[in-house]
Amino acid sequence: MRFHKLLLIVILFLVSCSQKAPIYEYKDFIFGTIVDIKIYGETEEKSENISNLIFNDFKRLHNYLHPWEKSLISSMNNAIAAGSVFNVDDEEIIRIIQDNKNLASKSENYFNPAIGKLIALWGFHQELPNQMVPKAHQINELLANVTTMDDLKINQSTLSSANRNFQLDLGGYAKGYALDRAKKILANNGVANALVNIGGNIIAIGMHGDRSWIVGIQHPRKPSAIASIQLPPGWSIGTSGDYQRYFMDHDKRYSHLINPRTGFPADNSQSATIMIPPANNSGALSDAYSKPLFIAPEIEKLQLADKLGIDFFMVVLANGDILISSKMNESIQWLEQNNEKNITVH
């Protein structure tokens, strides 16, 4: 009898040891991609309510920032194309535009959200790309007077551009910005531990119990992760890759990541991944700053990373070689058992 009691206590002890704080996960399709929210250590009811708050905010942003469907941004683009000024009575959009001006200028316009017209010419302003290489003269026409964020003039609440080719496309910014919004919503509602993933752009809030959140980094050419890395509290991670939105023509891959200097999709990288430490705009930075590292020529990538203060980056080059920063190399866990990888540590 005594033995049975002891056994019961031992079993109860073991059961209580194995019990973890719950994680609730919610998914939705927004921004043309999957949004995945994991909330750790809260009740199911609260997790669901907060996730819905975030999803609703993302839907608002989608309808507000969408580059080609009906949105505030496409109305502005139409006004500029017609040569007229656009009135916005909206502080948030002015702040977003200022932020984009700032990021574009720092990145020497390798992050250039002003080339919507060029992106549309390549057929990436529709759910399914055209799969056609544009005519050289069409590209050259836009390249001759390439639009930048400097073309957009802000005069209090009116926006205008002397270059009527200016078309704002926040496709490389909106998801990152949304991560920063999610961070605020979670903080305002007292959620301390969560992981938000918008089509591969991720922000870590707090931790997963007593360990950091762990993120797998997609292999650009295989259906599996190439590596995994801990994403400490408040950090964001973003990747630009040529394997999600692209088309093939005569065995050549054309991705949606257009080099504003050549007018062609950048073809020197397969993917560029960066990690950004906690900041108010950490999500936006992780989205926007992965573009310069993907697009710029190989030698300039390292200079740009230094200039932009990106300490954690990894670029898979077109030939599969890997360029990685020393800090990223220290924290990354390679999952591929592939010794052919040629890794250069910067």
């Binding site: 399709f29 752009n201 997963h208 993120v215 259906p223 599996s224």
Partner: protein, 128 residues
């Protein structure tokens, strides 16, 4: 030792048959399940209902209704792939088989996700 020999002596032909049959049955079932993934499941998510989880230890095709129409997913002894999809580019089908925890195939046009889930997750989410 002597006792064992005594027992062996009393084994009849019928007993041998039963023993051999059961031994081979055990051998066969162990060899079948030896390479089976344990603690791994297929999770299918679409835009309409809650996600569904299936065993990977079967060979079966599943129809899933998505945003555009019906997609067909094939489970074949531990691995999974899309075999039919109403989407235009068929990236999901070209992706091929997945068989490891956390591998995921997303068909964005049809809004269907298939992923392998399990107890020993090596990471929480994927950056792509």
């Amino acid at each position: 030792m002597k006792k064992i020999l005594q027992y062996i002596k009393i084994i009849k032909l019928g007993d041998t048959f039963v023993i051999v049959t059961f031994m081979s049955l055990i051998f066969w079932s162990v060899s079948q399940s030896w390479n089976m993934p344990s603690g791994q499941y297929l999770k299918i998510e679409n835009n309409q209902e809650d996600s569904k989880v299936f065993s990977l230890n079967q060979t079966v095709n599943k129809q899933v209704i998505g945003f555009l129409g019906s997609s067909e997913i094939s489970i074949a002894e531990g691995k999974v792939r899309f075999v039919k999809s109403p989407c235009t580019k068929k990236y999901c089908i070209h992706h091929g088989w997945i068989n490891k925890i956390n591998q995921t195939i997303v068909c964005l046009p049809n809004q269907i996700t298939i992923s392998i889930v399990g107890d020993s997750e090596s990471y929480d989410t994927v950056n792509y």
